[in-house]
Symmetry: C2
Subunit: 208 residues, 2 copies
């Protein structure tokens, strides 16, 4: 699953070598996202990297601590994409938000409507059982919501979004609604919940 | 976890005996809801009921088939509550919906913000891996959304909700937004995402 086909893609130079720690995090990210937390064993992770099990415990004190780092790595990547879209001054603020979701939806279509958001998955599967993972989830949700908030506040300033509800509350609601749309997408294996998300958010919720 | 204390609650008569099949489903519901799908073994389920493992396979062909029945049992209970609130003609349609969510939120507060919605949890953890469970999830989400739709359509008829977006789309969006609010509630262990859900839904989304 973690293998990338190298047929017909000759290497042009030496492949940059990931440290074992980074390789474990990247392998864990792929497995935990595809299979879930309880369904993924440390054995499977070390096997996919090709290191002995003891190596895992040289780098991480527990599966829980590892899971928290995997969430950080996941959000780090997501955060970069989010910032790129929301700082695109060629678009008015509301269009930046729309472009961000359109891009996510395109990626989910291409991927066949699987896996969803790792942060949502961990909220469902792990949050009740791990204060550590909860802390990482809430910190990243807060950052994510904060970026939405700045964008929505700018849209309220330019008059494209009404001011009946604060930008902060709208931003956090948007986050919830998106996470829920991803759950329903995975149950239905269709983009209908995502399309309806944009229809309601941009056709009604974030209007004048 | 599945034991109910009987101290100071003397029995008044013989306890009605659940059939083994029903007892397994009820035990599975409690365990799968609290621990998750992959984290719950069949062994734990049969032990909590006090029957041998073979007994499980007399009633269910697989853990997957069992999981599908557990979802049905879960939705059956949720559905009863939903219908009771949404058919309460002492309230106008929009107030019925509000009372339904207020009641859910009260229950989640009392429970300490754990477990969330089993259908959301299975969507996150199991849907990618089981067409059977997907079928059960989508059927129940459809029924659930359908009841919201009838109520929202009535609110559109009486003028409390605008008609810019169809009742069907608003209903399914509401379902997503609620499921996502539950995810964030579990990460934050607070009612803030639920309060913000009602604030946005009843203060903005479902308005004139």
């Amino acid at each position: 699953m973690l293998e990338v086909s190298v047929f017909n893609t000759p290497r042009r130079g030496p492949k940059p070598k990931l440290g074992t720690r980074d390789a474990l995090v990247q392998a864990g990210l792929a497995l935990l996202h595809a299979e879930g937390y309880a369904a993924t064993g440390i054995q499977g992770i070390v096997e996919s990297v090709g290191v002995p099990k003891g190596s895992f415990y040289n780098h991480f004190t527990s599966k829980e601590a590892f899971g928290a780092e995997v969430i950080d790595a996941y959000f780090d990547r997501a955060h970069g994409r989010l910032r790129a879209f929301l700082s695109d001054t060629d678009r008015v603020p509301l269009d930046r938000l729309r472009a961000y979701f359109d891009d996510l939806i395109e990626g989910l279509r291409a991927g066949g409507f699987v896996k969803g958001c790792l942060m949502g998955n961990f909220s469902a599967e792990v949050a009740d059982h791990s204060p550590l993972i909860r802390d990482h989830l809430t910190a990243h949700f807060e950052t994510w919501g904060g970026l939405f908030e700045v964008c929505i506040a700018a849209a309220q300033d330019d008059g494209t979004v009404g001011q009946q509800v604060t930008a902060a509350v709208l931003a956090r609601f948007l986050l919830s609604a998106w996470e829920g749309a991803l759950l329903r997408m995975r149950a239905e294996k269709s983009d209908a919940p995502l399309i309806e998300f944009t229809q309601v958010v941009f056709g009604r919720l974030l209007g004048p």
